[in-house]
């Protein structure tokens, strides 16, 4: 056994096996990304593919990046995306945290059932579920009618409406994103909460803290890694989301995913689309780096 291991180490097999996942990343993430970066500094041409380097054009064309900041359309799309993603993340946390906490407090058999329920939506097609929401939010649905009644009951009489204009709004986008991404918040939160030692709660109770203080002093601070992990898992895909805003969003206030898609397909401006994509990635890398910095610091004190 030991000889086998020595041979394994010496012959470089272990390097290969360790390296395979990285090869995967290089092949399917880094390489495409570099192509996109290269495309983002190309020049749009009416050829196929619709971009070129060199010729009478300058080799590197930063026009796409300049337009990113110059054209209000892009800045606005970025802001809307970040706003929607942040709002969705916030509500996912607000709804997901109590659910994750409850999962850790129920008996083992209930826990498995409830965890199943959290994952269950994935068994139905994502598109189907979005269409279901479109039906619910539509003007003639019982859901809309019920919410309209509530709305009319709360607000002054002048503001009363026949039905709530939920569809094709940022509200609809956030609602469906919260619904879609909730499991991505709950699962990492549950994983981090489940690891906590329940005797720590008892120790805090014993030292004079009421249950809500115990939550703030003991549970919450220890679950920060879970909050950050869940937050990133929701925020990053939400910010680049294409399908949900296309189906239920406001076409006049597009999110950045929609902009990229439009630039690629209808505008056939691949360099511009690539520039937007690179900018989006850069924007997403920042919070991720902050997270790993935070983690490294937390681990550094160990």
């Amino acid at each position: 056994m030991a000889r086998l291991k020595a041979w394994f180490d010496r012959s470089g097999w272990s390097d290969l096996i360790v390296g395979l996942p990285y090869l995967w990343l290089v092949l399917f993430f880094l390489l495409p990304f570099l192509i996109v970066v290269a495309m983002s500094v190309a020049t749009k041409t009416p050829t196929a593919p619709p971009f070129s380097f060199g010729g009478e054009h300058p080799w590197i064309n930063l026009g796409g990046y300049a337009r990113l900041f110059g054209d209000a359309l892009y800045v606005r799309a970025f802001l809307i995306s970040l706003m929607n993603a942040a709002t969705a993340t916030f509500f996912c946390l607000l709804i997901g945290y109590p659910m994750a906490l409850a999962l850790t407090r129920v008996s083992k058999s209930w826990r498995n059932i409830l965890l199943m329920l959290v994952i269950l939506p994935f068994w139905t097609s994502f598109l189907l579920r979005v269409y279901a929401w479109m039906g619910l939010m539509g003007k003639s649905s019982w859901f809309n009618a019920a919410l309209t009644d509530v709305w009319n009951w709360i607000v002054p009489i002048d503001w009363a409406v026949k039905s709530l204009p939920m569809m094709h709004s940022n509200f609809a986008v956030v609602l469906v994103m919260v619904y879609t991404y909730l499991p991505f918040m709950i699962l990492p939160l549950y994983a981090s909460l489940e690891r906590l030692d329940p005797t720590l709660d008892e120790a805090a109770l014993d030292l004079g803290s009421r249950p809500w203080q115990v939550f703030l002093d003991v549970t919450l601070p220890q679950s920060i890694p879970g909050i950050i992990a869940g937050g990133l898992l929701v925020f990053i895909p939400a910010a680049g989301e294409l399908v949900i805003p296309s189906l239920v969003g406001d076409a006049a206030a597009p999110m950045i995913g929609r902009v990229i898609s439009d630039e690629f397909s209808s505008a056939r401006d691949w360099p511009m689309a690539s520039a937007v994509a690179v900018a989006l990635l850069a924007l997403m890398v920042i919070p991720t780096m902050l997270y790993s910095h935070y983690q490294a610091r937390a681990e550094g004190t160990k």
């Binding site: 030692d197 008892e202 120790a203 109770l205 014993d206 030292l207 004079g208 803290s209 004190t301």
Partner: protein
């Protein structure tokens, strides 16, 4: 006396479903006492402690602390702090903030709070580790942080669940004395849970011996060792050899017993509640029996043969076969030095065992 006691536990029971974890426990503990709950694994020690801390409500019975009924009082309002077996230090806080944690509920100024924390860290000699996190200190230091944290709010009663179980033997002995000295300085009443009888004997003023949720005897270390009330206590604390016997008479405040295994009658210390003719158990501690080659002049003499002996250096353990085939354990201190010290008797030697009537324990159950 029971009415004036600092802590009174009256007929407390706790059942989980149909399982009786604690059964009709009645105890009283005086102020400033170190009281030990001693018993084997699963006998309900932790459950009793958790009822005192307020984490579990008794199924039946009452707990009075300083005259106040504790029923329905939540843990955060009890002047009782607990030192958990796992220490339960907050991993995201430093040693200092751990110790200060309970103080945030005290009406005191920032400076007073800092003073108290410093005083506590001083008490457990951890001042230089104040800024470290719990995972950056050793097990023994963690134990002391847990103690300081539990003492910082000056509880009326401190509950310690196996406070030394996680420490190695050497550190444990050292820490026992440290605990005692801290208790003496703070004057806080301690209830210590342990399954280690030596620890209970060293630490405690009084011990409650528990078995299957019941308290079998309460007394000072000497009382439970020298005068066990029943067979469980006698065999749980220290080692002991027991024989079936019958009481044949009473003379000079002593009981005359007929012991089948000895083939003779012996005298034993009189115990209340034993009647003549009753079948009893005679219990002998190994160190109370003298072993000799020649027949000694003593009240109780029994003949036997050395079956086994183990030499430990400062003492030896003999196993003696009686004519009936029964085995007796005898502990002899090797007081003499040199070669002659090695042993009083050798394998297969015929020897005489003798013991004082006062050292013979008669158990009615």
């Amino acid at each position: 006396m029971a009415d004036t006691a600092f802590l009174r536990i009256e007929g407390v029971s706790k059942t989980f479903g149909t399982f009786h974890a604690v059964r009709d426990v009645t105890l009283s503990v005086a102020q400033g006492e170190i009281f030990a709950l001693l018993g084997g694994s699963g006998c309900g020690k932790t459950t009793l402690l958790r009822m005192l801390a307020g984490f579990e409500e008794p199924t039946a019975g009452r707990i009075y602390l300083d005259g106040k009924d504790m029923a329905g009082v939540p843990p955060w309002l009890r002047p009782v702090h607990m030192m958990f077996q796992s220490y339960a230090l907050f991993p995201h806080m430093t040693v200092e903030t751990n110790v200060a944690y309970g103080l945030k509920h005290e009406p005191m100024s920032k400076a007073e709070r800092a003073d108290r924390v410093r005083e506590m860290l001083d008490l457990v000699q951890l001042t230089q580790f104040a800024k470290r996190k719990p995972h950056q200190i050793s097990g023994g230091q963690r134990q002391r942080v847990a103690l300081a944290r539990a003492l910082a709010r000056q509880p009326k009663l401190l509950l310690l669940d196996e406070p030394l179980a996680a420490l190695d033997k050497k550190l444990r002995e050292h820490t026992q004395f440290e605990l005692m000295s801290i208790q003496e300085r703070t004057g806080v009443t301690f209830i210590v849970v342990t399954h280690d009888q030596e620890e209970a004997m060293t630490l405690a003023d009084r011990i409650a011996v528990m078995d299957k949720g019941e308290v079998r005897q309460v007394g000072s270390p000497t009382e439970v060792y020298e005068f066990p009330a029943n067979r469980f206590v006698a065999s749980f604390i220290g080692s002991i050899t027991t024989f079936a016997a019958t009481v044949v008479g009473r003379e000079d405040g002593q009981l005359r017993l007929k012991v089948a295994d000895f083939g003779t009658e012996v005298l034993a210390r009189d115990v209340a509640g034993i009647t003549e003719g009753q079948a009893v158990t005679l219990a002998l501690r190994p160190e109370k029996i003298t072993i000799s080659q020649a027949r000694p002049e003593a009240a109780n003499v029994v003949e036997g043969v050395v079956k086994d002996l183990a030499y430990f250096g400062k003492d030896s353990l003999y196993r003696i076969t009686l004519p009936s085939g029964a085995l007796v354990q005898v502990h002899a201190v090797n007081a003499r030095r040199g070669d002659e010290a090695a042993r009083v008797a050798d394998w297969d030697d015929k020897v005489w065992l003798s013991f004082e009537p006062g050292a013979a324990i008669v158990l009615g159950d």
